[in-house]
Symmetry: C2
Subunit: 228 residues, 2 copies
């Protein structure tokens, strides 16, 4: 009831992206057009455009005559996403170290404050989102739009992967002050150190996932083929 103006297509995308970044929506969730029309108060046309756009980001999976579901990355896809992140963020950091400006550092430190606040207030959803957004903000310092957009896609997919394969016990994101150390290294334009921290950081996140256990949907073939 807060907003009477109609939501635009990009608004809806953002809302869905946020819910993924905060891990409030599970991979594999079925999204029917009509229900989303009701929720966001937009027409089916808009929702269908949103589905198409998000499917390009591998956030939503579209199957003909079957509708849309929140993407549920396979183990293979998950590894490829993290491999891509290692390569991309490493390259971005080198350029970021060359191009970083004082204002960037201030901005990042303000972001770190927010992360800390969310952590103190035990606002887990906000903290998870901020952890992801940190990597995106870091990327922007490199001033390369195509690579930033690409990394953004990877971060959203990572969020889905963590939703799916994350061990419940340990919050599988950036602890140990690695974000802080990244900002420090960047402030000194130390690309090498930043890259090393980032590599460890991403390996750390990936290592906290458990890929051995159950899968979703299509892998039943493999499971039951072996059992019979």
């Amino acid at each position: 009831m807060a907003n009477t103006t109609a939501l635009t297509e990009e608004d809806v995308c953002q809302r869905i992206r946020d819910s993924i970044l905060e891990q409030r929506i599970a991979p594999g969730t079925k999204l029917t057009e009509e229900s989303l029309c009701g929720i966001f108060g937009v027409s089916r046309t808009t929702i269908r455009r949103v589905f198409l756009l998000l499917s390009k980001d591998n956030i939503i999976r579209l199957e003909r005559n079957k509708g849309a579901t929140i993407a549920a990355p396979t183990v293979e896809e998950a590894h490829q996403v993290f491999e891509a992140r290692r390569a991309t963020e490493k390259a971005l950091l080198r350029r970021a170290a060359e191009r970083v400006q004082p204002g960037d550092i201030a901005h990042l430190r303000a972001h770190l404050e927010e992360e800390q606040t969310a952590l103190n207030e035990a606002d887990l959803a906000a903290w998870i989102r901020l952890s992801g957004e940190f990597h995106i903000k870091l990327a922007h310092i490199a001033r390369n739009e195509p690579m930033c957009t690409f990394l953004q896609q990877l971060v959203f997919q990572s969020s889905l992967i963590i939703s799916q394969y994350g061990t419940a016990g340990a919050p599988s994101s950036c602890k140990g002050g690695e974000h802080e150390r990244l900002v420090d290294a960047l402030e000194h334009q130390d690309a090498e150190t930043a890259q090393t921290i980032m590599a460890e950081h991403l390996r750390g996140i990936e290592s906290q996932l458990s890929f051995e256990t159950e899968e979703t949907g299509q892998d039943l073939h493999v499971i039951f083929a072996a059992a019979s």
Copy 2:
């Protein structure tokens, strides 16, 4: 009249992508929905989906109530695309060198044959397309879907950039047997050499562009402002 079955959405995308890769369509070209409906024999609904998908790849530019045009990258965007290619293809080559298999090399050599044939037959359009596709095939050897898809986008954008800023005299693509040398290096799993060749290769392509001269469309303002 060759095909009576209706073209699907992906077919239309591919046709448009091909025409860009062969540089048969100029950046900035206006695409009206109705005309494309007639050309491809599909409904407006399909064309609109195609526009939306290709706009996500930065191949088509969508402006609200203004319709679609073939993207016309700015100089700044062009530099960023090539920077992204250098970073991405370098990373891809390292992984490709680790994972390359004999079949891959055979496949690449067959592709080189095609390139040579097109060159001998003076089929310029085909040769330009094949030159671009070489980089995409190379990327696939690294077995990383997200990065492959990303590179694909960059290659298409490169094609637009070359259309726009390429000097007419020299065909601003891969000569000097650099593609051959890349395959050789890859066959010996020599990532370092491959990366060096690729870096030179991309710099070479970029250096053949002329960013000083005229621009398209909106830059007329600047041009005539200076002249008056």
